[in-house]
Subunit: 341 residues, 2 copies
């Protein structure tokens, strides 16, 4: 049943050299004679030999595999981020293995598995983790970078200033004198810490402008169009005069857009809607969504870069990178073209 896994010794025998030479052929090609190398490679190909990375890591005491956790694949929010990670990792000769972590507990389990695999480093999303996971992480000494979070990383960090993005969004809305009652929707509950950071920024900016800052809606749901629908409903009940809303994601914003069209609420005339994340969807809905572009690809690349340099000792713990953001102003929050007569 168990198939004959070709080993380095098999290749060595076939090529008439010692295992060492086979090893060198892969790791230090320059150390072995052109001819010998060619013969080894040929035999390896013929036997379908794939070096046992795990065994190699064990012997060498190092690894070229980086582990990452993704909170969810429910939408495309992490698509470019993961691509950025993978491209950067590959460019440096590393492999990226991913584990899904839809809940804090799943993340703990993923972290444990990845540590068990002795990856070279770990990229996590956010700063909210199971306490046992934090302990393990610290004890293991494995470099870890936390992404999508502007501050508070345990080791390395990469992200953008979500508070600043929130403030910019509020100011953008305040430029339009029609926006008197502005709401903020965030998620609440485990795993939503990185959303909650937006709340104080939202309140501060409104307070600074002398506006009421009481319209914060804490959604129980993590994401989804339905969350938008229900949040809008709840907000309108609290405040029928609601005229602007900042959403936790573009999906939620799109859900609100869809619901507005069902209710006959005009966007942006009666209600301005801002999204978050610059999903592909954002420029496809009507009206197109104003949103926060997170430079996700750069963030992913920066995370891997940090990790690798940290592994080389080039970078101290506590280091973090701000990959910035951009506010994309589109029709869903557009000011009136011509002022009222």
């Amino acid at each position: 049943m168990t198939p004959p896994k070709t080993t380095m010794t098999d290749v060595a025998a076939a090529a008439g050299v010692s295992p060492m030479t086979v090893s060198n052929t892969y790791k230090y090609p320059e150390r072995v004679q052109e001819q010998t190398r060619a013969r080894v490679l040929e035999c390896a190909a013929e036997l379908g030999y794939v070096p046992n990375i795990a065994a190699g890591n064990l012997a060498a005491g190092e690894s070229r595999v980086i582990g990452g956790t993704i909170p969810s694949m429910r939408n495309s929010s992490f698509y470019k981020y993961v691509l950025g990670m993978q491209n950067c990792a590959n460019a440096h000769g590393y492999k990226l293995v991913l584990m899904l972590a839809d809940t804090i507990e799943q993340e703990r389990s993923a972290i444990e598995a990845l540590i068990g695999l002795r990856v070279a480093g770990l990229v996590l999303v956010g700063t909210e983790h199971a306490p046992e996971a934090m302990t393990l992480l610290k004890r293991s000494g494995i470099p870890v970078v936390e992404s999508w979070t502007p501050a508070g990383a345990m080791d390395l960090g990469v992200g953008f200033d979500t508070a600043a993005a929130t403030r910019t969004l509020v100011r953008l809305l305040l430029k339009d004198e029609r926006r008197q009652r502005i709401a903020l929707i965030v998620h609440e509950g485990t795993g939503s810490r990185r959303f909650l950071e937006r709340v104080p920024a939202f309140r501060a900016e409104l307070a600074a402008a002398g506006r009421k800052d009481d319209l914060v809606h804490f959604a129980q749901e993590t994401d989804g169009f339905g969350a938008g629908r229900r949040a809008l409903d709840a907000l309108l009940q609290r405040e029928p005069e609601l005229d602007a809303v900042i959403c936790p994601t573009d999906i939620v914003a799109a859900g609100i857009l869809f619901e507005c069209s069902r209710r006959g609420l005009a966007v942006p005339d009666q209600l301005a809607v801002a999204g978050w994340g610059d999903y592909e969807l954002a420029q496809e809905v009507t009206p197109q969504l104003t949103t926060v572009h997170p430079n996700a690809s750069e963030m992913g690349a920066a995370a891997i870069d940090l990790l690798i340099r940290r592994g080389q000792g080039t970078i101290p713990a506590g280091y973090s990178i701000d990959t910035g953001f951009e506010i994309l102003e589109r029709a869903s929050t557009r000011e009136r073209a011509h002022r009222s007569p």
Copy 2:
């Protein structure tokens, strides 16, 4: 710089037992005395010990890690599938590690890395792979299941009958006498084999009904709203009388819906639009999309299940499972409620 990784020997020393006993504590708890076990676990926790899975696999000659490749995270199409895989894997004491494979070459690289990691099995999407990857796969003897494909798997397979789904969709459209010019959109190019399977089924069903079957559009783009927009454009130029279209994904279908609303084309009155994949988006757009529900979660679970049972020798190579599909008929293809007067 390199942190002190706690090893089994360290734990053994701390607990005053031999490494063997520590090993047994984890793998065969019943073999070690309650008291001893407790002490070992305590010391392990205190030292932040995480067993080196890689070393364990090497020694035991087996692995509890399953590898999977995902063609893309660009949209949510694989969300439930991956969840299904992960849940099933965890339920059986296995871990699932994922690698992104946006292209055939990336998939080859991922497969090589996963084989290098000596995973217990591999789950791939589709039957289209780099030839070198196929060779490696066969040589390695690692069980592999190919998913999202009804047939043609190299080892194990899981999927549903896409040809049958296509035919059902065509028949559904043909029930409505307004649908005279029906089009099919598919992707073309590397990695799109599983889309192309729909073409002959589409043609056959139309031919059987005595209809013209000339409206197949081969999109160069893999996915995305824009692909829908452009495909619609191209199709309308070829056939101004176009009155129904079957899309490769719900995203493409939504793109067409959005474009229709821009052009003032009424759906479903002037154009029926069918999607594929039952994404969350499908029931959020207006009108709601008729689509193919792929039982993705079941498919993912079945894939893992097959793999594990195959590893146990319970299942022969060549075995495959049909996880079925369901056609969800919604407003985007709805027949007229009351026939014309």
